[in-house]
């Protein structure tokens, strides 16, 4: 039923948050494509769910809510695509942060 779905979603959110937290030392200690793509996925999902909660809290009314959620899907899709594009064609997230910090 729908009540189970909500608590599963909540658990999923915590799981992705913990995963993302674990990816941070991984990015530092063993940078590379595996961590890069995992970061891209975890960051996008974490952000997508997070913004979804913000929409639920602040956007009221059936139609505005649905419109906002559609916009969110578009944004998250583009974000994930952009991050993967960066990982594939450019230096990748881990390397980029390392390079930025050495400035």
């Amino acid at each position: 039923g729908s009540s189970k779905a909500a608590s599963l979603h909540w658990t999923g959110e915590r799981a992705v948050s913990v995963l993302l937290l674990g990816l941070l030392p991984a990015a530092y200690l063993c940078p590379g494509p595996a961590v890069d793509y995992s970061l891209a996925a975890a960051l996008t999902l974490h952000g997508h769910w997070g913004l979804g909660q913000v929409i639920t809290d602040y956007v009221h009314g059936d139609v505005p809510n649905k419109v906002a959620n559609v916009g969110l899907y578009v944004l998250s899709g583009l974000t994930f695509a952009g991050l993967c594009h960066f990982n594939y064609h450019d230096v990748g997230i881990c390397k980029a942060v390392a390079m930025l910090w050495s400035l």
């Binding site: 915590r14 952000g47 809290d57 583009l78 974000t79 695509a81 230096v91 390079m99």
Partner: protein
């Protein structure tokens, strides 16, 4: 038998709506420290820039280096970049435990 539960609910709602009671403030009193919002536009902006800008990352980084900004400015910029992420991460950990 008296009234059914449904009838009582109906009466309750009719009276409730008729009395035009004001809604108690919920949005306005919300503590506006959404530790959520800060890094999110950053990640999406970075990703969209990765899509749209023609050159690769090292090129732009070299451009920034060529600007020869003072070390104090560079440090402040790094600090300003890290601050929302750290705030978000610490509060996130606080929420997780």
């Amino acid at each position: 038998m008296g009234t059914t539960a449904r009838e009582e609910m109906q009466r309750f709602w009719e009276r409730n709506e008729r009395s035009n009671r004001p809604l108690s403030p919920h949005v306005s009193i919300y503590k506006c420290t959404p530790e959520c919002s800060l890094p999110i536009p950053g990640v999406s902006l970075f990703s969209l820039a990765a899509f749209l800008l023609p050159e690769h990352f090292p090129h732009y980084l070299a451009q920034v280096r060529d600007l020869s900004l003072g070390p104090a400015l560079i440090f402040s910029a790094k600090f300003a970049l890290v601050l929302p992420f750290s705030y978000h991460t610490w509060n996130g950990i606080r929420h997780l435990v």
